[in-house]
């Protein structure tokens, strides 16, 4: 059975950014547990034909929490992430994001998705638009902002990922790392309540990973709630509140990074951590 997401979120694992003096108190306050969950997924199943990819997953993410999801390829971790904003339709389960029932037919899914930013492994920038155009599109066409205001917000978002000077470049004129940062800007420009990262650095050359992780660190500092599917162990150790290990469509183990990477309890987890540690 998958351990309950909430309990394993654990007070001691959920540290806040140290800049916040109120939260820098010496010992873990119980407050994080009481924090309102932004993402609440219960009993998620997903079938692809005969494949049973998710077999009853519970994932609860508290406000300002950074959850890392790791697991072998084909374990269902990306599918889980894609279920959260309903890019993938779960076969069964309940998903609530920021209080909105994502699976209710009456939910305006396009409105709900603006609260959930998503960053993809392959960036998926629109190649026919400049960086600015990529970021401004949803501001204009979804949120209905006038051109000038959308452009201004888009520039601000690009500046946040340190690409203020690349606004007029087309994706093809940017490096992979820059493209991924534009993709992050595209998501955060909508001021989402939670950000989903689906292997954001897997398609990048090693020297370009740093810039993307830096942008994610900045988001983290600003208190963004984040769910990250990735194997960037060093980043997870430094920044994650909780690491969730998924295998064969189930959460096998979860806890603070130090515990999961340092002393995994399950054989599956040990084997997996051992494998990725060798890289």
């Amino acid at each position: 059975m998958a351990p309950d997401g909430r309990s394993a979120a654990g007070g001691e694992g959920l540290h806040r950014p140290p800049e916040n003096p109120a939260e820098a108190a010496p010992q873990p306050a119980p407050a994080p547990l009481a924090a309102r969950p932004i993402v609440e997924a219960r009993g998620i199943h997903k079938h692809f034909g005969h494949l049973h990819v998710l077999r009853g997953v519970d994932l609860v993410v508290a406000e300002r929490e950074l959850v890392f999801v790791i697991g072998p390829s084909g374990s269902g971790k990306s599918t889980l992430l894609r279920c959260l904003n309903r890019l993938e339709e779960p076969s069964a389960g309940i998903i609530t994001v920021d209080g909105i029932d994502m699976l209710d037919r009456r939910t305006d899914i396009n409105a709900a998705r603006q609260r959930i930013g998503m960053v993809f492994q392959s960036f998926n920038l629109y190649p026919h638009m400049t960086a600015l155009g990529n970021v401004a599109l949803a501001l204009r066409k979804v949120q209905g902002k006038p051109r000038a205001e959308a452009a201004e917000r888009a520039r601000a978002a690009l500046a946040r990922v340190d690409l203020g000077d690349r606004a007029d470049h087309y994706p093809g004129q940017l490096s992979g790392g820059q493209q991924q940062r534009v993709a992050i800007a595209r998501a955060i420009a909508l001021e989402p309540r939670v950000m989903l990262f689906d292997e954001p650095t897997s398609a990048l050359d090693p020297e370009l990973v740093g810039g993307v992780l830096q942008a994610m660190r900045e988001l983290r500092k600003d208190g963004m709630t984040m769910v990250v599917v990735s194997h960037e162990m060093a980043f997870a150790k430094a920044a994650a509140d909780r690491v969730v290990f998924i295998a064969d469509g189930l959460i096998v183990e979860q806890g603070p990074p130090a515990a999961i990477f340092g002393s995994p309890q399950h054989e599956r987890t040990r084997a997996f951590i051992g494998q990725i540690a060798r890289h």
Binding site: N85, L87, N110, A111, R113, Q114, I116, G117, M118, F120, S122, N124, L125, Y126, P127, H128, L137, A138, K141, V142, Q143, Y170, G172, Q173, A183, R186, A187, L190
Partner: protein, 226 residues
């Protein structure tokens, strides 16, 4: 008279050319008008069908595929003849111009639907997902993200097919449309000299070489920066 002289007299007879130049010019204008009408309605209808097909409503898609396959299979001349000679039997008669315009539009619609559809399916799935994840709806995603890329991708086959079908305006001569070929054939009948056909060929070159060049320009113009 040598063979060469006879050849020149037949195909490059200055007097006949001068006499029939105005008729060919009229035919030229009519061809241009007919071609523009066919391109406008054919491409618009093809794009509309592709968009409807992207909605993914099964029965609707079967219907679209059936219609498209039908018009791709039928020779354009057969469609023109059916509309022009067949419809009056059903109490509805079309002018030669209307029959040609409608027929070629249907053919261009069918081929361009397939081409647009190919472009839509060739646009990476990630583009849909990225746009949808920012809250764009289906049609907004199609219109702002997918179609601009799909259309760029298919501009070369689209211009080729458009040119090929537009040249089918010559088939209008069969149903009494005095476009370039019709005017030239009439000229041949009246003058007993094939020079008007030479003029007609020249008119087609004058008309379509710029179109081919325009197509090439569009291809480069709409290639995005890499």
């Amino acid at each position: 008279m040598s063979n060469w002289d006879r050849f020149l007299n037949s195909f490059f007879n200055a007097r006949v050319a001068w006499d029939y130049l105005p008729k060919i010019a009229d035919g030229f204008v009519l061809t241009v008008v007919l071609a523009l009408c066919v391109i406008a309605t054919g491409l618009a209808a093809g794009l509309a069908l592709a968009v409807v097909r992207a909605l993914g409503v099964r029965p609707l898609n079967w219907l679209i595929i059936f219609v498209v396959d039908l018009f791709r299979a039928l020779p354009p001349l057969v469609i023109i003849a059916l509309l022009y000679f067949g419809l009056p039997a059903a109490g509805l008669s079309l002018s030669g111009f209307a029959a040609t315009w409608l027929s070629l539009s249907c053919v261009l619609m069918a081929f361009s639907e397939e081409i647009f559809w190919a472009g839509i399916t060739a646009t990476p799935k990630g583009q849909w997902e990225a746009a949808r994840s920012t809250g764009l709806g289906f049609l907004a995603t199609l219109g702002w993200v997918v179609l601009p890329q799909a259309v760029r991708m298919v501009i070369p086959p689209l211009t080729n097919r458009t040119i090929a079908i537009t040249k089918g305006t010559a088939l209008g001569s069969v149903v009494a449309v005095s476009e370039i070929l019709g005017a030239a054939q009439a000229g041949v009948s009246f003058s007993f000299n094939p020079t008007p056909l030479t003029l007609g060929a020249a008119a087609y070159v004058v008309l379509f070489v710029p179109v081919v060049i325009l197509g090439r320009w569009i291809e480069t113009r709409f290639a995005w920066k890499r």
